[in-house]
Subunit: 346 residues, 2 copies
Amino acid sequence: MAARRPRERGVTVEDVARVAGVSRQTISNALNAPHRLKPETLERVSAVIEELGYRPDQSARSLRSGTRRIIAYPAPVDDPANPNALMGGFLEAVVAASGEAGYRVLLVRPRPGQSQEQALDELIAARTVDGFLLSDVLRDDPRLAHLTQAGFPFAAFGRTAPDQPQSWVDVDSAQAVIDMVGLVAARGHRRVAFLASSSGLPWMDDRRDGFLAGVRRHGLAGQVYSVPGDDPGEIIKATRELLTGRDRPTAIVAGGDWLALGVYTVARAEGLEIGTDLAVTAFDDLPVTAWLQPALTTVRLPLHGIAKALISRLLQIIEDGVTPRAGLVLPGEPVIRPSLGPPHAL
Amino acid sequence: MAARRPRERGVTVEDVARVAGVSRQTISNALNAPHRLKPETLERVSAVIEELGYRPDQSARSLRSGTRRIIAYPAPVDDPANPNALMGGFLEAVVAASGEAGYRVLLVRPRPGQSQEQALDELIAARTVDGFLLSDVLRDDPRLAHLTQAGFPFAAFGRTAPDQPQSWVDVDSAQAVIDMVGLVAARGHRRVAFLASSSGLPWMDDRRDGFLAGVRRHGLAGQVYSVPGDDPGEIIKATRELLTGRDRPTAIVAGGDWLALGVYTVARAEGLEIGTDLAVTAFDDLPVTAWLQPALTTVRLPLHGIAKALISRLLQIIEDGVTPRAGLVLPGEPVIRPSLGPPHAL
DNA sequence: GCGTCGGATATGAACGTTCAAACGATCTTC
DNA sequence: GAAGATCGTTTGAACGTTCATATCCGACGC
């Protein structure tokens, strides 16, 4: 292959032991089981560790102990229409949560020509990671089936099937949208539309179901509009149809902030004033919506709570072998802003 | 600590050797130096490897060979005003480029209370990664100084100091902005303003310098407006001052798409039509600008090219010990859209 | 005073791989 | 036909840690 630079050798457990006048194992214990050491020994050893800047070699540790302290996160493709992952700050939250637990995040993606399952298998077989954190899980997600069959630890943002480990965390999207519909209803709106992106995505289905439950509960006239594609052009086209047809809705509950951007664009073009002529709510609270005028009423995802819960569950599987008996559902946080219009507007 | 599940033992080199009827080392060579094997042996061994699904244990390999096949990427905080990193798809490109080279990306961030340098040291001392990929490098970035002193491999998106390894890649922001000014000048604009975010960020300085060079070259009246903060409120406030003062510019060259969003917002409120009353150009080509009406003229960063070049340089340092003699400057790609206005508008 | 216990530390082995060197067989060379 | 040179393969050792077990030492019970 290639010429390799001479390997600079670091401080080893042997070096520390020699300086501290104790054995290897005592150094190891000082780091992994400090309670076993006499307090004075611990103090002395810690001082030497600090002084020499000793850090156990991660590879050697992993080889012997079988634990990698690394979690793999299969990065979803950064699709704006699917802001759960990178864009929404979820990755941020995951890195923070796992870092606090002493784990690091390995970002993985199938190589060209490789299936998702093959990519997982490679990491499992090479014993590169201790577990997986999945997001954007689909109904019958092949990754879940694969990991379940392999008996490999994972935690999922999004529900798993009943016969799979219930190591998942999800947002109560349906309830959050019901709340949105409630807010719209309280302001006197009767004709309400739900704007959904191309379906099949479980979270979008949940939001739509919440909408349907909401209109039923409040006795509203609710219709669901699905946009065939995900790009701005299609969203705008579908939204224009919705807003220029007869029996135009007075309120739009969008399945995502991204869709609400389309509503703003069309409303502006059609001379409809949001918050007055048209109430708009959305979902996700993406940073970009800070630019919208009037500000957008939406649902904020508790990303840090989700990430913490996921890491906590994953580490319980990895470290204690305990698989959660049930999934965890966290509430979304309604963020009420002027796009909803004033109370009793109509 | 905690009860640990019995470690399931994987397929080892020993197992493959036994089945294939050769020695350990031959298996190792089949994977790492296939040219050393007789073709028929290679074929037989490969078949057995495939059959047993053997993958070398990453930890054992790392321990012995000293190579981790992992690159650390210190994740910048996901600040919308700084869209170089997560939001702009750079991370995507990095994962793809390193994956193709057989490396994985470890996302790291200092733990609470830990300095950036300490976080780097920890990874170096624990021999967790082979090198670092840095983005959002500042002038006199302490991370660069630290890694240089430690003699540890890195590559940087953004220029390094002259006394540091020239293992950097950067975009020719200045030239790209000069081009933008040229486009504006060609359309007859004379009073042009540059909108910058809170300064001190090298790439923003480069863009501003490009603007100044551009107005000088074309003999325009150019002024630079710096926004004190990074959040939408401040950007809008500064932009409003700019657009309502006397001698209002007829063209705005924004230092970033994020700033251009402010221009659109203010222009709309002030009744100025973009592309007619006001020409607007920007920088970054963020996905969100797809929503702007009229579409935004901007500069696209060649993120995949940047990532590929960075990985290539980093691996040359890691694998061959060769440090690049000079940095690499890639051009930005002007993307001309209607916000610029028609040719010879004035 | 002797055996027993328990806490603290030490020792040998093992994790699974690749390195460095050795080995045997075949091919050159004169 | 002997002395290398080359090729393909094998062997012993080493990477740096933690596991499992052994050892040491003082305290305690009877």
